[in-house]
């Protein structure tokens, strides 16, 4: 199981600022190991961020997103104390969901 995500969501005058740092190796499928075999691709494909159950961002990612991906965006309508849920799914079907409270 992958390590937990680090999520920071802060309420600002013009919306809620969300910053997420995920822990994932994001293998591209282009690299070869020391034996010359291709390292199979292993990367996050879908990320969903929900605020009180309502999606505020959907992302689809290819293997070109950097290792231990970082994501930042802003949305309106959130306030202090609200729950924010972030879920990712990778191309091997592994998934992880973490929750954070807006501060």
């Amino acid at each position: 199981m992958a390590d937990p995500m680090r999520i920071r969501a802060t309420e600002q005058p013009d919306g809620v600022d969300v910053r997420v740092l995920m822990s994932h190796e994001m293998e591209t499928g282009q690299r070869r190991d020391s034996a010359g075999k291709v390292v199979p691709a292993h990367h996050i494909t879908n990320v969903t961020v929900s605020h009180n159950g309502k999606p505020v961002l959907n992302a689809e990612w290819g293997p070109a997103v950097a290792k231990n991906p970082y994501l930042q965006f802003k949305f309106k309508g959130g306030k202090k104390g609200d729950k924010l849920t972030v879920t990712w799914v990778d191309n091997k079907g592994e998934t992880r969901t973490d929750e954070a409270t807006i501060s």
């Binding site: 994001m26 282009q30 879908n46 990612w61 070109a64 290792k67 970082y70 994501l71 965006f73 802003k74």
Partner: protein, 155 residues
């Protein structure tokens, strides 16, 4: 890291072969369910990607701003930010021209969310980076070059 996972990992490597043989693996079924746009992610150029995303051509637009460094020392971690001032922005895409597959990331922006996303991507070499925005089913693009001193793919 148990034995089961090992088996699963090598099964993933055989995925392309199985797909070619007409077998549908659990992985592929999963990808369909999750609506991961495989065609778009496999396209090689900006034009092909826009077509795979359902558009015809992308028009240049001054209402999109792309924030990238002029010179990236490490191609494995290139910060990219895209802001769109076009009303009704539905999707934001980040493309790297000279990567093996152009499309790096795609973001769906529901109403209420600002068309302002930032992430970090990998770049194989010095290349143009395109920020493509879909608004009212039309595609817009801005382009900026990033010089890479050390490539992020391969190694």
């Amino acid at each position: 890291m148990n034995q089961n996972r090992r088996g699963f990992v090598s099964a993933g490597g055989l995925f392309a072969l199985m797909a070619a043989a007409g077998l549908i693996s659990a992985e592929e079924a999963f990808a369909q369910q999750q609506a991961w746009n495989k065609n778009a992610f496999e396209a090689k150029t900006l034009e092909e990607t826009v077509k795979a995303l359902g558009g015809a051509t992308a028009a240049q637009s001054g209402d999109i701003s792309i924030t990238v460094p002029d010179i990236a020392e490490n191609g494995a971690v290139v910060p990219v930010g895209v802001t769109s001032k076009i009303p009704n922005t539905q999707n934001v895409y980040i493309l790297v021209e000279k990567n093996p597959n152009s499309l790096a990331a795609s973001f769906g922006i529901p109403a209420g969310t600002e068309a302002n996303v930032a992430t970090r991507i990998k770049m194989g070499q010095t290349s143009n980076v395109h920020a493509v925005v879909k608004a009212d089913n039309k595609f817009y693009v801005v382009t900026k070059e990033v010089k890479v001193t050390l490539g992020g793919c391969g190694g």
